[in-house]
Symmetry: C2
């Protein structure tokens, strides 16, 4: 049996996984940041990614439901409010809808979830499955992709303002996440370091983070495949209109 990693070694390993597998490396994001996506492609991304966003508070509620530690539950509950909103804030899902509207999509169309790519749906369901059926360490560690989100989101905001200035009214989701994500990640990382007290549990955390990277990556693969190249969304999925069409 390999020895327990120190907190520093363990943290380094988690960061290494993100460096290699997080979707900041995905070609769809590269095209986005180079300004090479059409409005229709950004619509397809916003519409499909909405499905993922809409399941985040459900994912977090499952994690809250699994914990018998009231302190943990209180801390994690913040995430549900962050997405669903509270008295002070409309919440991340609403902000994502504003982003989708900035691309030119009607919010009802996005909320209906009728045109979501099946492969995106399957990947998101796999995430809900992971947080329900995996160990508690795995469930929490799957959120550690937030360690890498802050940097990606900051870059994305810059690049969107540069290349797609008409997206400006939709950027408040990212504005909020650029601080939320690192805060949430710090808590989750600390919890995972404290609770992964065997090498086996550290491996569970690493595996869960890899699995989560795969879930994010597979969504962009599906979007790229359907809307960039070769470009065949399956029957029933969102169809892009030719540029300039109403």
């Amino acid at each position: 049996m390999s020895p327990l990693l120190s907190a520093e070694e363990f943290t380094r390993e988690l960061h290494h996984i993100g460096e290699e597998r997080y979707h900041h490396r995905h070609p769809f994001h590269k095209l986005m940041h180079e300004g090479k996506l059409s409005r229709g492609q950004l619509q397809a991304w916003a519409l499909n990614r909405y499905y993922y966003q809409s399941r985040i508070p459900i994912k977090d509620a499952f994690i809250v439901a699994r914990s018998t530690d009231a302190d943990f539950r209180r801390a994690w509950r913040k995430r549900i409010a962050d997405h669903d909103g509270d008295g002070n804030d409309v919440g991340g899902i609403e902000r994502w809808l504003a982003l989708a509207e900035a691309t030119g999509l009607a919010r009802g169309r996005v909320r209906s979830e009728g045109e979501v790519l099946p492969a995106v749906r399957f990947a998101v369901e796999a995430y809900l499955d992971l947080v329900q059926r995996g160990t508690m360490i795995a469930a929490v560690a799957s959120s550690l992709t937030e360690l890498f989100a802050g940097k990606l989101i900051a870059l994305r905001m810059d690049k969107m303002r540069e290349h797609y200035p008409w997206m400006e009214p939709g950027l408040s989701y990212f504005q909020k996440r650029v601080t939320q994500a690192p805060e949430d990640a710090r808590f989750a990382l600390q919890w995972v370091i404290e609770h992964a007290q065997s090498r086996d549990q550290q491996e569970q955390a690493c595996d869960a983070l890899r699995a989560k990277c795969t879930i994010l990556w597979a969504q962009l693969d599906a979007i790229y495949f359907a809307y960039v190249e070769p470009g065949w969304p399956p029957p029933g999925a969102f169809q892009m209109r030719a540029e300039g069409q109403a």
Copy 2:
């Protein structure tokens, strides 16, 4: 509320769904039947599709487990034996391994499931989910893709002999399925017609068949995307070697 469809109308509707959505129309199968796939691409297909094959008896066991009708269970149990084998026959999974070997892959590599595309995995898990969480009508109706399998498999055997004669030692899976699939489909269709006694239940069956077509289609999308065009399997997935390499 729409009126109940007659058995003939209902059957016609199910066939219409298959005509429109079954994966006989998928571009990957078209390339296959035109002889345009490389050995590496056929390997990728055989290796990934093995994951689907390996979950078929599990899917059927879930369906058996849900029924309180011993006659139904006895009839459906045949499918488990068809795939897992019995005293007389090695079964479909073993035959699929022979097919994978005919493409030049080692059986251990295929059975390990280590290089399966995540998107294929997610689609297959969605199938297991459907037969566990959907209604019993939906669970049974999801197998109705077999209505369309006989014709596709007969064509595939012809085309494989024509374009990939070195696949011959691997064709016994299809040889068997060309009679098994239509027999199984007849039973399932009869059961669904008898048990879908409201328009709502008929719709459940249609929706489940559509969902199953989507699950098959998404697997081929993932394979096409990773191994035909643009050709980027995600980290950890099966990598094709250049033709001629050992």
